[in-house]
């Protein structure tokens, strides 16, 4: 904790974000220039594709959804002291759960159709997330490695399903049949691709916030993330909580997968996620692990993804690379600038302590000396 007044602290925080943003823009320009692309023209194309029209804004919002949900889940896990690096696998299995529920449960028309799929997606994602949680809680195995290895297993399971038993006949690519409209999420903004999954994502942002800051469960999560040993000594069921938090985290990612199947795509397609689960780690960190901050970060990267679609016209191949590059740069820049600010605040503290002591004219305490 610093002695600096709150106003100075928030100013420093804003400054850190501004510096990081500016650095990212400069580095991205240099990168584009090195690849032989005029950065100004590229940024203009990106702006048009991300925010230039109603349709573009709808696309940006739609592309925010899976990123936001996964990042919320990852942030919950990190708050509980766990690194869920396996959201990508949880998305895939959540999507498979939703598609399976939509295809094989009795046909219920109306709103109940997608609800069954969404719940199935959440549960399957939660189950997959609980595995590394349980291995960590009861076998002491680092969840970073297990959650990540499970990604490769999950993707192969989905590949097997869509290439094998669930493959729709006469398809030119591995996918299930298009789900009946009653099982799918409806469009909510005419003239755009935005579906009701966006509203679910917004609701889950609120849920995550309330859960984390307004409930006992959230207090426990933050307590364990702060100090696992102390929480154990205080009598919290640490083992159970580690599993529960990872399951919850996986559930959020599973829900993202379900929305991709029930809303965006209307079916389960092989390789549908271009790495949302990995991107979401960066988004959770950029949002400083706070649900509303994460929503802002996810919006930025949803727009960036939509915008990189505008690059495709001028330079094929570039478009898919630009978004992860900017993200990686943004996180590294923010990480560095936040640390620099923290270090300078410490210097401020030291100086302030010195000045205060000189003013008070008393001998320094042992700590100050």
């Amino acid at each position: 904790m610093t002695l600096a007044p709150t106003s100075l602290r928030s100013l420093a925080l804003v400054l850190a974000f501004a510096v990081a943003g500016l650095m990212t823009l400069l580095e991205a320009s240099a990168f584009l220039a090195a690849a032989g692309i005029d950065p100004l023209e590229a940024f203009h194309n990106m702006y048009v594709a991300a925010l230039g029209s109603k349709f573009a804004i709808g696309t940006s919002l739609a592309k925010t959804v899976p990123r936001l949900l996964c990042a919320l889940g990852i942030a919950l896990a990190i708050r509980g002291g766990l690194w869920n690096i396996g959201a990508e696998g949880q998305i895939y299995l959540g999507a498979a759960g939703a598609a399976g529920a939509a295809m094989f449960t009795p046909d219920i028309t109306g709103i109940h159709g997608p609800v069954v799929g969404l719940i199935a997606g959440f549960l399957v994602g939660a189950l997959w997330g609980a595995i590394p949680g349980a291995l960590r809680a009861y076998r002491g195995i680092n969840e970073v490695i297990t959650s990540l290895l499970l990604v490769y297993v999950a993707i192969q399971i989905v590949n097997y399903l869509v290439e094998g038993p669930w493959l729709v006949p006469n398809s030119t690519f591995p996918a299930t049949a298009v789900l009946p409209p009653g099982d799918r999420l409806s469009r909510i903004w005419p003239g755009t691709l935005l579906n009701s999954g966006f509203l679910i994502a917004l609701a889950m942002t609120l849920v995550a916030h309330v859960l984390l800051y307004k409930t006992e469960f959230g207090l426990w999560i933050r307590s364990i993330g702060g100090n696992e040993r102390a929480s154990h000594v205080m009598g919290l069921p640490v083992g159970f909580m580690l599993v529960a938090v990872m399951a919850l985290s996986g559930g959020f990612a599973g829900l993202a997968g379900a929305i991709e199947v029930l809303g965006t795509r209307g079916r389960l397609v092989e390789g549908f996620s271009p790495g949302y689960g990995f991107e979401a780690i960066a988004i959770a960190l950029l949002g400083r692990l706070h649900p509303f901050g994460i929503a802002c970060a996810a919006l930025i990267f949803g727009a960036l993804d939509a915008g990189s679609g505008g690059l495709q016209v001028s330079s094929a191949g570039m478009s898919s690379a630009i978004s992860p590059i900017v993200e990686g740069l943004a996180v590294i820049n923010l990480l560095a600038s936040l640390r620099l600010i923290e270090i300078s605040l410490k210097h401020y503290d030291a100086r302030k302590a010195l000045v205060d002591r000189q003013r008070s004219d008393r001998p320094p305490t042992l700590k100050e000396a």
Partner: protein, 262 residues
């Protein structure tokens, strides 16, 4: 009747597949023993895989290719080092961010020769013992007059070089070209091997050989016509690693200063 030829082929494939992983795992082992965790091992391998091919084709020299691959890994390690050692940023965060960014050859024999060499270096040299002190009890190491930051820098850059070479080997010795995501999670497998091998070079080697044995079985099984969906075979090495970790890992004896910045 056992087809000896098939078994020889199986073990040849196992060893060939193991050496890129072994380079990366030994590098990571050195770095972790000094207390620096590299979630970005995959990025180092990928960087090495790319720059290796690039350098080799630019110079038409295989050796230059490996040098380029090693340098690429060193550069990624340097960025990680600035964030973790200089700025003391969270090691997992930095690693994740860097990841978002990015026939038998002589190298195979070198990878296996490195196993006893790394063991000797860590356990039987002054520098190696300083490295262990750095990783176990950074504060105590400082009070003993060990330059903890320097020690960590050396370990981290060594890791970058080795992981880069491992990645370079994938493209230079194996495929000859760079394709996106050519490493396919091998950096993470190497990370798991360090844990599974309990932070010892021979343990890491055994873990990697187990992984690549299953991986080469997968290739053979397809030829031998074993009736399993190929996806099951592709996921088998990953699944086996998780199951092995779950079954045989008791409490992990990670270096106590791992991930803790000084």
């Amino acid at each position: 009747m056992i087809d000896t030829n098939a078994i020889v082929l199986l073990f040849t494939a196992t060893i060939a597949l193991a050496s890129p992983l072994l380079f990366a795992a030994l590098g990571e082992l050195i770095s972790e023993r000094a207390g620096i965790l590299n979630i970005n091992l995959e990025a180092m391998m990928l960087g090495g895989a790319f720059c290796g091919v690039w350098a080799a084709s630019a110079t038409t020299s295989l050796f230059a290719g490996f040098v380029g691959a090693g340098l690429a890994g060193v550069i990624i390690a340097a960025v990680h080092g600035v964030l973790c050692i200089v700025l003391r940023a969270e090691q997992v965060v930095s690693g994740v961010a860097l990841n978002v960014l990015f026939n038998q050859t002589a190298a195979t024999y070198i990878a296996f020769l490195l196993v006893p060499l790394v063991w000797w270096g860590i356990n039987r040299t002054v520098a190696g013992l300083a490295l262990q002190a750095t990783g176990e009890q950074p504060a105590a190491a400082i009070s003993m007059g060990i330059n903890v930051r320097l020690s960590r820098w050396i370990a981290l850059l060594t890791c970058g070089a080795l992981a880069g070479i491992g990645g370079g080997q994938l493209t230079l010795a194996g495929l000859g070209t760079f394709t996106p995501n050519v490493t396919a999670g091998r950096g993470f497998i190497a990370l798991a091997a360090v844990v599974f091998g309990r932070w010892t070079p021979s343990g890491a080697m055994v873990a990697i050989l187990l992984f690549t044995l299953i991986e080469s079985l997968q290739v053979r099984a397809q030829i031998l016509g074993i009736k399993l969906p190929y996806q099951v075979l592709v996921m088998a090495p990953y699944l086996a690693t998780i199951i092995a970790l779950a079954l045989f890992m008791k409490r992990m004896k990670a270096p106590r200063g791992l991930g803790i910045n000084v």
